[in-house]
Amino acid sequence: MYPFPDERGHFGPYGGLFVPETLMQPLEELSLAYERYRNDPSFQAELAADLRDYVGRPSPLYYAARLSRELGGAQIYLKREDLNHTGAHKVNNTVGQALLARRMGKSRIIAETGAGQHGVATATVAARLGLECVVYMGEVDVARQQANVYRMRLLGAEVVPVRSGSRTLKDALNEAMRDWVTHVDRTFYIIGTVAGPHPYPMMVRDFQAVIGRETKQQLLERTGRLPDALIACVGGGSNAMGLFYPFLEDEEVALYGVEAAGEGLETGRHAAPLNAGRPGVLHGNRTYLMEDEDGQILETHSISAGLDYPGVGPEHAWLKDTGRATYVAVTDREALAAFHRLTRTEGIIPALESSHALAYAEQLAPRMRLDQIIVVNLSGRGDKDMHTVAEHDGWTL
């Protein structure tokens, strides 16, 4: 049995609990509550019903026939997380954490968001459960993701622009932590990825693991076999962890996480800590980071706001070191090309984040045999990216 994390949240040397003293007891309380409800049949039944009726699960596993033929190698299946309510995998986790918040008697929800997808998914479940909701978002991201800011406000959330540091996702996370320290008694912090202090990396992984469980069952039903390779993009890494986790002990299944190489790893303008960073401590956990020689965290770059983060979930750091998963990186340009290719061949407009996974599938599939199978996690849909892509193509919307 894969034994990670240990009871203090460690994945080998990674993960753990690196937070100010004020948050230690609340995190302990969260761990205990999560431990209790993850084994509680009534909680699990409530979660399953919400995933079915509200999120729209199971999401389809779609065979991309034209794309597979065009690439001329392995057969490609897409796990359609883009068809979930709110348009991405993020909601799998927010539904779970919001139910937990309600069981814990918390009346106020906070979250951080980069592109706004996690913020929207959080505001959505907060609206449904009638919980107060505050979302922290870097000022730079607020400016480039106006539509999602408006969505969150429509849903009744307060969106607070964060003006400190680099004014992006990492600073939004700092600000959410500060809010949590201050309003810890009645507030539940819904972290959107498999990072942060224990138990978040484990808890978010568990809520997202529905992606991998469904994938396994759907592919077995369709083909009677396991896939040869899984591919998912990695920012913080929640969609990848959710897909990978149920396959970790199926050693014959190759796992590929795809980071954002931005303008190229060699330029330094990227968001690929697993490929070009080193281990350090940020946001409550030890993991690979993008930092300078003095341990200051670097600003990142990616065309995809959802991958624009200098850290990564600690379990990915561990899977990299153990060699169970392979982490590669694709550039903005390669991701955009994959975005257009999927749109044209399959009539599916992917998120720019997911386009990174697709770009790697374009490289991998032709090197594989026709009877092999790749599953790509199509973690979100591209509606939110129309503006970015249009601008890149020289269109004005």
């Binding site: 753990g16 100010p20 004020t22 400190s164 996370l173 700092n174 350090g280 946001h283 965290i297």
Partner: protein, 269 residues
């Protein structure tokens, strides 16, 4: 006995409370930090807390965040801060200095290298905001081997079990965070603080300082009645910020402010 323990023993013998001001190293200008430290001592500081700038100060409120950004923008890094301690130490062999900051710059330098350099520079203690005892084992050993005290935070949310555990690991003094919040947070409630301190003191023998939310002479005096040390950070840093246009006035103005605090906490109760 460490310089910190000695200082607290002296104060206790005199029936006085410690006054501990905080500065972010390099704010507003790197060359002002050492003169400012001397001015603080002159004005009555018993111990100085020197903040090490970090790009992601998640436990700090806006005032110290901005100070950190000013320092980082001028290139102040951990190595430079150690240089400032060394320069201060050349003309002040007595006043203890505690480095306060976040783990990552120390990890990057390496625990052993950091501990050796900090000791050589003349630092006395280290307070790392984001390292709870659960994650501190290796670090504690390395710091103690260089004679550095490890100052820990306690919070209103700390359970008895945690207080005991931290008491067993900490040295020098412990730092009680008076409110749930970030540095520079709103109002502290002296009776609530007193109740927590009584609980902490029943479990920990070390001196207990109180910080977060001490803004002026009045709150300093209230805290001095119940704690062994009064720690003042954001109130000083915000004054430094407001004098940003006339940095030559900073040492005198900050010293004058600190004197009002010194007076308030020394007044007979």
């Amino acid at each position: 006995m460490s310089r910190i323990a000695e200082r607290f023993a002296e104060l206790q013998a005199q029936g006085r409370r410690a006054l501990i001001p905080y500065l972010t190293a390099g704010d507003p200008r790197p060359e002002l930090t050492v003169p400012l430290m001397h001015a603080l001592v002159e004005a009555g500081a018993d111990l100085i807390e020197l903040g090490v700038p970090f790009s992601d100060p998640m436990a700090d409120g806006p005032v110290i965040q901005r100070a950190t950004e000013r320092a980082l923008a001028q290139g102040v890094r951990l190595g430079d801060v150690l240089g400032m301690v060394e320069a201060f130490r050349r003309s002040d062999p007595q006043t203890p200095v505690v480095l306060m900051g976040y783990l990552n710059p120390i990890e990057r330098m390496g625990y052993q290298t950091f501990a050796e350099r900090a000791h050589a520079a003349g630092a006395d203690g280290v307070l790392i905001v984001d390292v709870p005892p659960e994650e501190a084992e290796e670090l504690v050993g390395v710091l103690k081997s260089q004679g550095l005290d490890l100052v820990y935070l306690l919070a209103p949310t700390s359970t008895d079990e945690r207080i005991r555990r931290i008491g067993a690991l900490a040295s020098g003094f412990v730092y009680y965070v008076s409110v749930k919040g970030v540095t520079g947070a709103g109002h502290l409630d002296p009776s609530d603080v007193a109740a927590h301190l009584a609980r902490i003191k029943s479990m920990i023998a070390l001196p207990v300082g109180v910080g977060f939310g001490i803004k002026d002479a009045e709150t300093a005096a209230q805290i001095a009645r119940i704690a062994d040390a009064v720690i003042v950070g954001s109130a000083i840093v915000s004054r430094i910020e407001s004098l940003g246009e006339t940095p030559e006035r900073i040492p005198a103005e900050i010293a004058a402010f600190l004197k009002t605090l010194r007076q308030a906490i020394d007044e007979p109760k």
